[in-house]
Amino acid sequence: MQTMKNQSPSPFRTFLKKFRKQRVALWSLFVVVGIVFVGLFAPLLVPYDPHRPVADQYKEKGMDASQLTREQVSVTVWMSDGSKANDSAGSEFTLTSEDGQIAAARKTDSVAFVYASGEGTTSILVSSGEIVSRLKVVVSGQDNGLPSLSQLVATAPKQSLQKGESVQTGVSAILTDGTELAEMTDILAFAKQFEAAEASAPGKNDGFASSTDGFTNSEEASAESRSLYFQSLTPTVVEVSQDGTITAVGDGEGTIMVSVDGISTLIPVAVNQPFNKAIPVRIEPGSLVMNLMNAYKHQPPSSLHWFGTDHQNRDIFSRVLWGTRETLLIGFVSVSVGAVIGTILGLIAGYWGRWIDGLITRCTDVLLAFPGILLAIAVIALLGPGITNIIFAVSVFTIPIFIRIVRGSTLALKEMTYVEAARSIGVRDSVIIRRHIFPGTISVVMVYLTMRIGTAILIGASLSFLGLGGDITAPEWGAMLSAAKDNSRNLFHPTFFPGIAIVITVLCFNLMGDGLRDALDPKLKD
Amino acid sequence: MQDIMLEVTDLTVNFRNDDTEYTVVNSISFQVKKGETLGLVGESGCGKSVTSLSIMRLVPTPPGRIASGEIRYKGTNLLSLKEKEMNAVRGNEISMIFQEPMTSLTPVFTIGRQLDEVILLHTDLSKKAAKAKSIEMLKLVGIPRAEEIYSSYPHELSGGMRQRVMIAIGLACEPQLLIADEPTTALDVTIQAQILDLMRELKEKTDTSILFITHDLGVVAEMCDRVIVMYAGEIVEEADVDTLFHDPKHPYTCGLLESIPSMHEKKHRLFSIGGQVPAAGSIQMGCRFRDRCSKAFDRCEKEDPELVPLSSGHFCRCWLYAEQGGRS
């Protein structure tokens, strides 16, 4: 007996030797080991608690959450003589948000900040006296893609005017995307187009409806304000018509205000006397567009949250890592249970044959006639949702596959001379199965084990995606995708990352299974 | 040179296995003249089938690869033709009959369709005319009930019948050169004789040149005008059929001839050449036959023998005859 064992080379060893040649499979094995490692040590690896919103955790981690969601506003004030205003003039401005639901602005003596408070696009008006400029704020990357007017620049008469003299002023505008509209007609056309765009998207109108608070021109925030509006602030010195013609009517210094769509600038005019001093005419925000992040929901991927956060502001990266455990648990446990039961039944059916073989084979055929997922769904339907039931369901359809392959190789091994020899000298059946037949089936069982784990993970994820996994808030890949589908339809990252985790895991198991199969027997097919 | 149909020069074919490349056919050269039947003889694995497949450019690539050499058919090098031009040669100018009649016909098509295919490819005949031609060919190769067989499937036919169909396919476009790769090996002895008779008869009718590949010297004696003996990818002896049978020079040829059972004298035991054909790539230097040769001497170990002319049309690759040839 002993010598016989030594003569025939261990099928397991030759199999390992060949497997080492399968480069792709070997790499997959490394990745799988990595995934298992992640699964085992997930509690140590996760940067955030996957069950709670990250905003609650910033303080515990000693991070200043407000850093994330605000941005400082700096401005440059331009004077009528073309120079920059000094610092003291530069800090005297106020900020007004057009939609406080999306972003809010707050200013202390020294600094001004814009905070994200919701999601979407809005604008912040920066005003200093009569001059008003606008900057666009995009929260959570939800850009509406529309530029709006940011600043107005008017050409003032360089020299002082004679009484009764008229000059035409030119007005140009800067948009939030940086382009310049040089002609008045362009500005008018843009304002019109903007109006049309707004009319077609009534939902986005809220921003303007709520702009009444604390803004001087807001009572005119109607159709009128959408066209260029000239107003003389000193009617005793200058008069202005709506086409921009300035007429000097009295001595002294006058100012004309030009406004459109909530923003405005000033034109200083001097009549019969030189300019005394330059006045501020334009206020230029440090950035025309400000991208902010909403820290309370759906944060996009960043250095802080590699995969972003979900609809309940939980860190997706942590959840994906954590989900590895449940996924691997479903994969390993269900397939192992299926393999053990299937192998035992397969050995029995193959070795003893007769009626017990007939019975087992018949049951196997019935079970194999149905696709795995439906079988699993039927089992869940019977037992009710839950992770244990998922494991059980996946095991149920794994069993017949193992019965079939083990029975097949048992039948072949039964005819081997060494088995017949063992039988002829009266070795007990149980010993023959354990010592001589089971080792021969182990390599093929291993191949199927690996390949089925991938399938089991897929089906487990599908079941929990369908809501049959019990706890839909659990950090489990399928459940995460199900939640993302319901709560984050328009966003990419909440659906992408858990899914790619499934793909990588299953792909590695599949590639490994393919490699094992090729190493074992290139002709073996699924 | 007009009567030379096919001229193979320095043909070398390599096969790759895992990471090593083995030379299976090593720099062989021969000619087939018009109307001649040339026999290519050798044990299995000596490279004769690969040689014939090379002429058709049907060596499975990979793992095989024609490494060097020229195959000139009527002056054109077949190896330099484009695939499309080669297709015009295959089945039309040169056709081939294979060893395995049982598996060489497409099982899911009728005999008729497979015969029509080659006719339609190389002639301008209409489908109807092609069918008539096919039936005519079936009759020519001695198939009874040709119309009925025309619409049969291969699995309904016996091996001999299938080989006749193969011959019909091979000859349908009246090729100038027919390559027959062991056409009778897989058949029963009686059927073998019938097929050989058929081939000889057809050859007389059509004056086709034949490259006849076989390991059976009896068949060679019956069919061929000239014979090339191959061993381990090399030509070891070339002679006309009478010379070869009556005055074999190479020890290998002698061995082959001796191992034919004779009807007249009852030997105690049949002669056989000891040992086996060396595995491809196992011999780096010296004569490839030396390990099995009773007359081997020192020189056979160290130097490769050359193919030297012994008399007109008789060549041999053996150190025993090196001095007799023109070279010294």
Partner: protein, 296 residues
């Protein structure tokens, strides 16, 4: 097939009896008093022995197509099934078209251009496709083509454009299986002697593949493709849920989540019958393709 049907119908029948919940209470409400309860139980036949109930259940299905009353909607299950059946049928058929077209093209190209970049790319895509969960692929397609590009509607049904994304999603896995199988099947046939014969005739390589080879190689592919219908029906359950497709699959999931056992019972039976019919059709088509089987 018939014994299989009987086994399945018994399992499906026992479903309602094995699962928690009293059908009488569910159907008529919890308030009814004990006397009415007994009366109703007698009337509905729940006091009869199981085998009698079973024969009545099967009899109703066979003679009237009656699958009982839904616990949830209190309406006839067969009406709802009939309404939804065509949706699932269209979805699976459209997916099969995708799967066969993509699978065959990739499989044939990979086999003919064996070991080329194209082949590697095709096979890597295939094994990746087999590792992608259908529902995620569906969500990604929806994200890209419906949400970002707006080419197709995100969900619902009614027009051809509604059908494209769900059917592509569902067909992907089967396409990969068909591609792999076609490739290996063709490669096997390409080694056959008769392919060499065809080449020796001077036939073009592509023509050989499309005639001599494909005909033989497709026989196992057809069998396998037919068996994949089961895979599709299973996948349909998931995909219908993703795209809110009003087919039998989403009906099944809804019923499971609301414990509507008569519906579950009917659907399990129906799905089983579908597989068995498909398997039968596969066997028949196998005979038509292979002359050897036809003649013997």
């Amino acid at each position: 097939m018939v014994p299989m049907l009987i086994v399945v119908s018994i399992i499906a029948f026992l479903f309602v009896h094995l699962t928690p919940g009293d059908p009488i209470r569910v159907l008529y409400g919890n308030e009814i008093d004990a006397e009415t309860y007994q009366k109703l139980k007698e009337k509905e036949g729940f006091n009869d022995p199981l085998y009698l109930q079973y024969t009545r259940y099967v009899g109703k299905i066979v003679t009237q197509g009656d699958f009982g009353i839904s616990y949830r909607t209190k309406s006839n299950v067969s009406d709802e099934i009939l309404r939804r059946f065509s949706y699932t049928l269209f979805l699976t058929l459209a997916s099969m078209v995708w799967a066969v077209v993509i699978g065959l093209i990739v499989g044939i190209l990979s086999a003919v251009k064996r070991n080329s970049l194209l082949d590697r790319l095709g096979m890597v895509s295939a094994i990746t496709a087999l590792s992608i969960p259908e529902f995620w692929f569906g969500l990604m397609l929806m994200q890209i083509f419906a949400v970002q590009l707006g080419w197709f509607p995100t969900s619902g049904s009614g027009t051809i454009s509604h059908l494209i994304l769900p059917s592509l999603t569902l067909g992907l896995g089967v396409a990969a299986i068909i591609a792999r199988f076609t490739r290996s099947s063709i490669l096997e046939v390409l080694r056959e002697d008769y392919v060499r014969t065809a080449r020796a005739k001077g036939q073009n390589q592509w023509v050989i593949v499309l005639t001599h080879v494909l005909r033989s190689a497709l026989i196992p592919v057809v069998t396998m493709t037919g068996l994949q219908f089961g895979f599709l029906l299973g996948g349909a359950v998931v995909v219908e849920q993703v795209f809110a497709w009003p087919g039998l699959g989403s009906y099944l999931i809804d019923s499971i989540l609301t414990r509507d056992y008569p519906v579950i019972q009917a659907l399990i039976l129906l799905f089983s019958v579908q597989f068995l019919v498909v398997n039968l059709l596969v066997d028949i088509s196998y005979g038509l393709l292979n002359p050897q089987i036809r003649y013997e």
